[in-house]
């Protein structure tokens, strides 16, 4: 090895060349890894959820209209912190629930409507909350399980059903 170009170079030059290559290639790799880590890290995802009504066949069985969730699909990454602002925008006196299938439960803060203002109640670790006309709720949970999970209104089945899609 001493007879090669590598052997003829002085120690200082070899060390300087090695340091330069190592630091610059390390910076390139670091920036790439940082990019991957940064953009796949769990994040807080905020959604606004409303009730809607199908424009046909109303009212239906027992005078219960065909209501829906808007949006009916919420997609997040596993580990994300999910915040859903759910608003009952009914123009008639009609309640809705936000109910999730297990294993998901959530924390909810229920806010009043025109006649009952401010925080109406806080509900930690529940699977179901009822909103009267004009009320809104902030629902929070962490998407710890990957898969597709149902959220629905217990009063308006089968149409008022949405799906939480957690990408693992």
């Amino acid at each position: 090895m001493t007879g090669s170009g590598f052997g003829k170079l002085s120690s200082e030059k070899l060390l300087a060349a090695a340091a330069l290559i190592a630091i610059s290639s390390g910076a390139v790799v670091g920036l790439s890894v940082g990019y991957v880590v940064h953009y796949s890290a769990p994040a807080t995802r905020t959604f606004y959820l409303f009730d809607g009504t199908l424009p046909f066949s109303e009212p239906s069985f027992y005078n219960i209209p065909h209501d829906t969730f808007v949006p009916d699909t919420i997609t997040v990454d596993k580990g994300d912190h999910v915040v859903i602002h759910y608003i009952n925008i009914e123009d008639v006196s009609e309640s809705h629930t936000f109910t999730m299938d297990l294993p998901y439960t959530f924390d909810a803060t229920l806010y009043g409507n025109a006649t009952q203002q401010g925080v109406v109640g806080t509900y930690p670790n529940v699977g179901d909350i009822v909103l009267s006309q004009g009320q809104n709720a902030t629902i929070t949970f962490t998407a710890n399980w990957a898969g597709t999970f149902r959220y629905y209104c217990a009063y308006h089945q089968p149409t008022m059903t949405g799906y939480l899609v957690v990408i693992g």
Partner: protein, 117 residues
């Protein structure tokens, strides 16, 4: 030179064990890279201890140390990850290791030059 070689081996082993601990203690893609880094450090300690191709291996270990320092610094600056007591201790030891490798490499080359004359 013997002292520099064995101090390099000790520093490599300590750094390797810290990296293995770090990789083993946390879950996630980036932390698993630490696990790999630790394994390479332990392997490097064996190579330096056995004095295999010393001028090449010493330079490679020096470059590897600076490479990892550079990776850590850029990832930490970009994401804020890896800024904890374990990582600080690890990187401080790596800095000492880099200096150790410079001194070891220079003394190895000097001793070869003396032998050649």
């Amino acid at each position: 030179m013997k002292f520099l070689r064995w101090s390099a081996v000790a520093l490599l082993l300590v750094t390797g064990i810290i990296d293995l601990y770090y990789g083993n203690s946390f879950a996630g893609f980036y932390e698993n890279l630490w696990y790999v880094m630790g394994g390479i450090y332990v392997f490097a300690a064996i190579v330096i201890a056995a004095n295999i191709e010393p001028r090449f291996s010493q330079l490679t270990v020096f470059a590897y140390t600076l490479f990892l320092w550079s990776v850590w610094a850029t990832v930490a600056l970009e994401t804020g990850i890896g800024l904890d007591a374990v990582a600080y201790a690890d990187k401080a030891i790596e800095a000492v290791l880099a200096v150790n490798m410079v001194l070891l490499f220079r003394s190895s080359r000097a001793s070869v030059a003396v032998l050649a004359h």
